[in-house]
């Protein structure tokens, strides 16, 4: 038995106690994906954050701490369900996500824009203007663009389906290549083989 094994077992018992005391409301893990490592956090109301690059986005992490306190802990069991759905999505076997997502701590406008974004169907595209309209503020295309650009839960809230009115791709947190790749998956012409997803505590 190695020191790492002892620590891993001690940690899992520690986190079970912390959860029972309400000291660990959010669990996170890093999962591998065809778009590189994703840092995923799941809170009491669902998936709260997905970060490209395998580390949390500082601003979004700050929002999570303000919303849920410091009890944000490594916990791959909490992220297992969304990791499985992402695996299915990337391999073309899932067209919508069943896991709940959590936009707590965002402004009502941001939440409205992201809920409208979440209603854009698999394989469809919407413009920033359309999303602003659906969020109830047709004149706020630019602000809607900012809200979509700051989406803390990419892929599950499919901001990659939102593009500029002139048909150009606009921007994407994971990079434009990632956006193209996701849209290609949804067109069915770039489906990675399944079974690639590995999940574990960082």
């Amino acid at each position: 038995m190695t020191l790492d094994t002892l620590i891993a077992e001690a940690r899992s018992r520690l986190l079970a106690r912390a959860r029972r005391e309400g000291l660990a409301d959010v669990g996170y893990a890093v999962v591998e994906s065809p778009l590189g490592p994703l840092w995923i956090a799941v809170g009491p109301r669902g998936v709260a954050m997905i970060s490209y690059g395998g580390a949390p986005n500082a601003a979004d992490l700050g929002r999570l701490v303000r919303t849920y306190g410091p009890g944000i802990v490594p916990d791959a069991r909490r992220t297992a369900a969304v990791a499985r759905e992402l695996d299915q999505y990337f391999s073309g076997r899932r067209r919508s996500f069943d896991v709940a997502f959590d936009l707590s701590g965002l402004t009502p406008f941001q939440q409205g824009v992201l809920r409208a974004t979440a209603r854009v169907r698999y394989g469809d595209l919407a413009t920033y203007r359309t999303v602003a309209q659906r969020a109830g503020n047709a004149d706020a295309a630019r602000a809607a663009g900012a809200a979509v650009g700051a989406n803390p839960i990419p892929i599950v809230v499919p901001c990659h389906r939102v593009v500029a009115s002139d048909g150009s791709l606009g921007g994407y947190a994971g990079g434009l290549d990632a956006k193209r790749r996701l849209l290609a998956i949804e067109r069915g012409d770039d489906v990675p083989t399944g079974g690639w997803l590995r999940s574990g505590d960082p």
Binding site: I7, E21, G62
Partner: protein, 151 residues
């Protein structure tokens, strides 16, 4: 800056677990000490001074180890053991405590009675129900074991 319990764990749990192993009789005790230390830190969050999380965790772990040692072995007072500790910079109170803890009960009693309580050999013999020669031999043997363990 540490903002979440996850960051606290990822940065410090490894060295704190190693420290807990040194303070404990076995893995299970070390496991308990690690858990109690971090749980106490979570409950008391934030640390008194931001950026000082490491020293804060060590202090919590040390206090818990001493509390445990007092609770489970009330006959051995830590401050007394400190007085009995050989003059060695590298041996801490807890090293001595641990060495004492590992002694078989008879040897432990002999060591504590002489090196901690400072009893004369006649009284130690009486307490242990043996001859004064035997008492000297037991104390001498126990002290050798402790010195060897903390060397």
């Amino acid at each position: 800056m540490v903002r979440t319990f996850g960051e606290l764990l990822e940065r410090y749990e490894r060295e704190l677990f190693a420290y807990a192993l040194r303070l404990s009789a076995d893995r299970d005790e070390a496991d308990d000490l690690y858990q109690d230390t971090f749980l106490a830190a979570f409950r008391a969050w934030p640390p008194p001074r931001s950026g000082n999380e490491r020293a804060w965790l060590y202090r919590i772990a040390t206090n818990k180890a001493i509390d445990r040692s007092r609770r489970t072995r009330p006959r051995v007072k830590l401050e007394d053991i400190e007085l009995a500790a050989p003059e060695r910079d590298s041996a801490t109170t807890l090293d001595v405590a641990r060495a004492v803890e590992l002694l078989p009960p008879g040897q432990r009693a002999a060591f504590v009675l002489r090196q901690v309580q400072g009893l004369p050999y006649a009284e130690i013999a009486e307490t242990l129900g043996c001859s004064e020669v035997a008492a000297r031999a037991r104390v001498s043997e126990a002290t050798k074991v402790v010195r060897r363990r903390i060397a």
